[in-house]
Amino acid sequence: MTSSAINAPADAAPEPPPLSDRLRQTVLPRLVTGLILLLMWEIAVRLLAPPFVARPSSVVAIAPKVLTDPKFLAATGSTLLAVAEGLVISLILGTLTGLAIGRSRIAEKALLQHVNFFYAMPMIVILPLFSLWFGYSAATRIATIIFASIFAIVMNVADGARAVPGEYLEVARSFRAQRLRMLFEIVLPSSMPYLLAGVRLAGGRALIGAVVSEFFLSIGGLGYYILYNSRSYHHSEAFVGVLLLAAFGVGFEVLVGWCTRRFMPWYRRGAN
């Protein structure tokens, strides 16, 4: 209990520095570096590369056409949907497994080594196996996404479940909470910050899993769109896809951060 937490309003945050200062000190240098890099890229491609190689001006020029192309939108939708499905499955199964590992010695002994092993294993080596089991199909893509994302969640939730303050469990026992309710009403919410850290990792890995499996399986989706267009010398179109993927990665991070602030206002590092 820190005295600074006393009566602090819910949305108390350190005063941000004035906008003009921030512009000068962080945004401006970043912008300048970015522009220089883009310029170098543009010049290098114009001087040294064949005309089909993507350069900033060609990507910007083609972007509106690509972003309104129904085929591109369908590909993007298919990839995002697969990522969302895979993440939901990973979230549910991963959380349950993580809780078990964190709270039961037997489950920990039985599962933890395997989880560590699979987490460390590059998803690219499991892909051929999955394609044998599930065929060159969307099922293999989902399996890869789950494989890529679930272990990050399991490990984080297990850490969180292990780190539940003993006092919370004691309070729950003192009020005669049943074991299952204790698991889902005390251990789970207490592990929430860990869970979200896991989801943040899992999101990036799921996206990679989707794209890599589309490369490998040649099934429709944003990854395949990128592969197909770069093979057919439509580098600029491919690059729009790449940028969109990067935007999804960043967007997901922002979304998780927003969820943390919105649904866990109580969670502060150092508070409590």
Binding site: M1, A8, A10, F175, R176, P189, S190, W266, A271
Partner: protein
């Protein structure tokens, strides 16, 4: 209500005892914490427990709450033998033990929810107890938004909300500042007057023990056992005026003397070691 003439060996409250502790012993592996602890707590009695740090006060309370198994002896609450947490006993924790992800309302409702109370009952009772501890208007606040004193008010409301017949308090005011502590002591006395229960109140403060307790149990030794039970024959209801009574000072000195003799012995033991 306590009979001042009753000799200490025959507690006046024995007939209406809510808690009965008999030849209780507890060890952690090789460390024997206490042995042969015996006392009763009446249904409308506050028993304060004082003793040097590490003498096993928290351990004793956790045994009585059924959170910890004991090794020898028996604990009875009413007709029930305590082996695990039983209904009708509620604990207030030193570090509040509030769930940071729950609002004041949900924290106070926790005990009722675990007891399977109906939604309507929860919606009726929780505000009542929030008001009783002076937290009205803070129903939606989270623990991190409140001072230590307010957090412990919430902890108290959570315990009171299950309408227990036994309240166990483990240094509930040790983690708040001195002024808040004084305020909370009198609030607790007021609430207890409204709804008397059997209460065991563990504290480091002799003043607090004498102010709140109808009897003060002094634990001593290693392993510790009950050194003395001091009857606190101060008139009730206790208020700020109680602190000014000559009898209050006398009793405080008496408990102080007992404890300090104990502390000196412990000090010499350390020096010899």
């Amino acid at each position: 209500m306590s009979a001042p003439s009753a000799p200490a060996a025959q507690p006046a409250h024995a007939d209406s005892a809510r808690i009965r502790v008999r030849s209780l012993g507890k060890r952690y592996g090789a460390l024997e914490v206490f042995r042969n602890i015996e006392f009763d707590v009446g249904a409308r009695e506050i028993v304060a427990i004082v003793g040097p740090s590490g003498c096993g006060k928290t351990t004793l309370l956790r045994c009585i709450d059924g959170l910890l198994p004991h090794d020898t002896g028996d604990i009875w609450v009413g007709d029930a033998r305590v082996e695990e947490p039983i209904a009708g006993v509620a604990m207030v924790f030193q570090h509040f033990g509030l769930f940071p992800w729950k609002t004041v309302f949900d924290n106070v409702a926790y005990g009722l929810r675990m007891a399977g109370a109906a939604r309507t009952e929860i919606e009726r009772k929780v505000p009542e107890f929030i008001k009783m501890v002076g937290l009205a208007g803070f129903e939606k606040a989270f623990p991190y938004q409140m001072s230590g004193g307010m957090q412990q008010r919430c902890g108290l409301a959570r315990a009171l909300a299950v309408e227990p017949s036994v309240l166990l308090m483990d240094e509930p005011f040790a983690a708040v500042d001195a002024q808040t502590r004084e305020i909370l002591q009198f609030e607790l006395l007021r609430i207890w007057q409204e709804r008397p229960t059997a209460m065991i109140f563990v504290t480091h403060s002799i003043e607090e023990a004498v102010l709140l307790g109808h009897r003060v149990i002094v634990l001593k030794g290693r392993p510790s056992s009950i050194h003395e039970i001091v009857e606190i024959d101060l008139p009730g209801p206790r208020t700020r005026a109680t602190l000014q009574l000559p009898r209050f000072a006398e009793l405080r000195e008496r408990v102080w003397g007992t404890l300090m003799r104990e502390a000196r012995e412990a000090e010499f033991q350390l020096e010899r070691a």
